[in-house]
Amino acid sequence: MLLSLEHVSKNFGGLAALSEVSFGVGPGEIVGVIGPNGAGKTTLFNLITGVFSPTAGQISFREQPIVGLRPHKVTELGISRTFQNIRLFGHMTALENIMVGSHCRTHAGLWQGLWRTRGQRAEELLIRKKSEELLELVGIADERDTPAGSLPYGKQRRLEIARAMGADPELLLLDEPTAGMNESETEDLRLLIKKIQAMQKAVVLIEHDMHLVMNVCERLVILNFGRKIAEGLPEEIRENKDVIEAYLGREEE
């Protein structure tokens, strides 16, 4: 397993946001996490990325416990994420946003930056090239020098994914990437996720769009009121009575 969660719980005050959630993600796998609003999906991401510490349970990445690590350390180990409500660096250009993403893969310090040493220049060139490739990958190469804050919504979502990819993650956590997108944009995103998967990256996807989830995910984890109520292949989940009752039954026809 690349990522594994064992009996992870999180309480806020007296309220349990997550209780006893366990599941794993294999290398290169795409796992969907679905569930009604308030089921604890974003909390799950916050726990994995070290924003919060779990009240109980263990989280490991590549067999190494990551509970208690600061978020930037988790990113350095190879887990990147996007946010449900986009959080880009608005004044910086699209390219610069991605270059920030590759921060933890580069090394130039104050001194090298001040004197523009040979190594520093080579490194700058390298991350610039890599970032341009990522712009290309997510399909916004022509917005290279546009300040992120003035990009249209759909492109901001893509840029955020590109920024996360800048850190060369092995696992990418996407928090509702299609929120607010129309059908054709969603389709583009599906293709993008497939491309990312082809690059041997694992993806955990929080998503409400059932069509997308059923299409791209190899496995699904269903949360309801902070508990995992089911896990399995999309076709199994489609037939699972608990899930239909708790979630799908209300949302689909």
Partner: protein
């Protein structure tokens, strides 16, 4: 009398440059979105360290000033480690408090001569003047007296120090660390999750700001012959803040412009001197209401660049509209 040889104007030019260096010091801390009100405190540490090293230990000035900067840095580490974990408001208050503690300590120590302050600090101008005389120009040269030549050299030296810091800041902005600073300023949580050790970089920015402030303090001490605890009180901290607020804190030219305006304006408006603080106060409020980004922002810089390069103002306006 010639403008450049008039000691009064020379003095003002020196103060402007020192304030510009202080402007850079607050810019550096602000570039990670942290408001430090402790720069006057760091300045005082630089000033006292350097002054005492020359007076009591006979250090040469060119050595004592950097040591003063390092002392300020050291202090920044001690104060910074607990405070940079904190949100903006806590940091502002903690640094304000730090400035106060430093002031009270200086007031009470024997070696700093308490409220009376230190006088007879070796002056850069005088020691350069001595060098000039030793070189055989005892009667001056180029139609200037030794004192005028000394002062002139001081201005050149100060300008060089300022130019170095500007160069440093601009190089920094275009580097990996500068991008990390900018990301933290824009959204520190997103920056942390993007793999930036925000605590370390905030500390670094705090540290750099303290160093530059310490250097400015040392320079100020060796220009004015005298320093006292009053020179580094709360009002000084607010004045430094005002450089950045008026000029703009998003580009390094902002605080520079702010310090030039705010240092020369009181000299021009002598008659309004009694209202100076009142004007400062009102200015802070007005700027926050009407132009919180300061006179110069990234957009203004872009606009001017376009104007200069293309000479087609109409198009340049278009480019800047987009981001507002």
């Amino acid at each position: 009398m010639d403008f450049w040889s008039n000691p009064y104007y020379q003095q003002i030019a020196m103060f402007i440059i020192i304030n510009a260096i202080l402007g850079i010091s607050i810019y550096l801390t602000l570039s990670t979105g942290q408001l430090s009100l402790g720069n006057a405190g760091f300045m005082s540490i630089g000033a006292y360290t350097s002054a005492l090293l020359t007076i009591k230990a006979g250090f040469p000035i060119y050595l004592s000033i950097p040591v003063g900067g390092l002392a300020a840095c050291l202090m920044a580490t001690v104060i910074g480690i607990p405070t940079t974990r904190l949100q903006g408001i806590y940091l502002a208050i903690a640094t304000l408090g730090f400035g106060e503690v430093v002031r009270v300590i200086i007031l009470n120590l024997k070696i700093t001569n308490g409220a009376l302050g230190l006088s007879g600090i070796p002056s850069i101008g005088v020691s350069i003047g001595k060098q000039i005389s030793a070189m055989g120009f005892g009667n001056g040269a180029f139609g200037l007296t030794v004192q005028q030549l000394g002062n002139f050299s001081v201005i050149v030296i100060l300008l060089m120090v300022l130019a170095f810091f500007v160069f440093f800041t601009m190089r920094l902005n275009n580097s990996r660390i500068g991008r990390a600073f900018a990301a933290i300023k824009a959204d520190d949580h997103a920056a942390e999750v993007s793999g930036i050790n925000t605590t370390a970089y905030k500390l670094l920015a705090f540290f750099l700001g303290a160093f530059v402030a310490g250097i400015a303090g040392g320079l100020a001490a060796h220009i004015t012959f005298y320093i006292g605890p009053k020179d580094f009180a709360y009002h000084r901290a607010v004045e430094i803040l005002l450089f950045a607020v008026l000029g703009g804190s998003n580009v390094v030219w902002g605080p520079l412009l702010g310090s030039v305006i705010l240092t020369s304006l009181p000299e021009i408006l002598r008659s309004a001197a009694v209202y100076r603080e009142m004007i400062y106060g009102a200015l802070l409020v007005v700027m926050m209401i009407f132009r919180p980004e300061g006179l110069l922002s990234e957009e203004t810089i872009r606009l001017w660049k376009n104007k200069l390069s293309r000479n087609t103002p109409a198009k340049a306006v278009d480019v800047t509209r987009r981001t507002s």
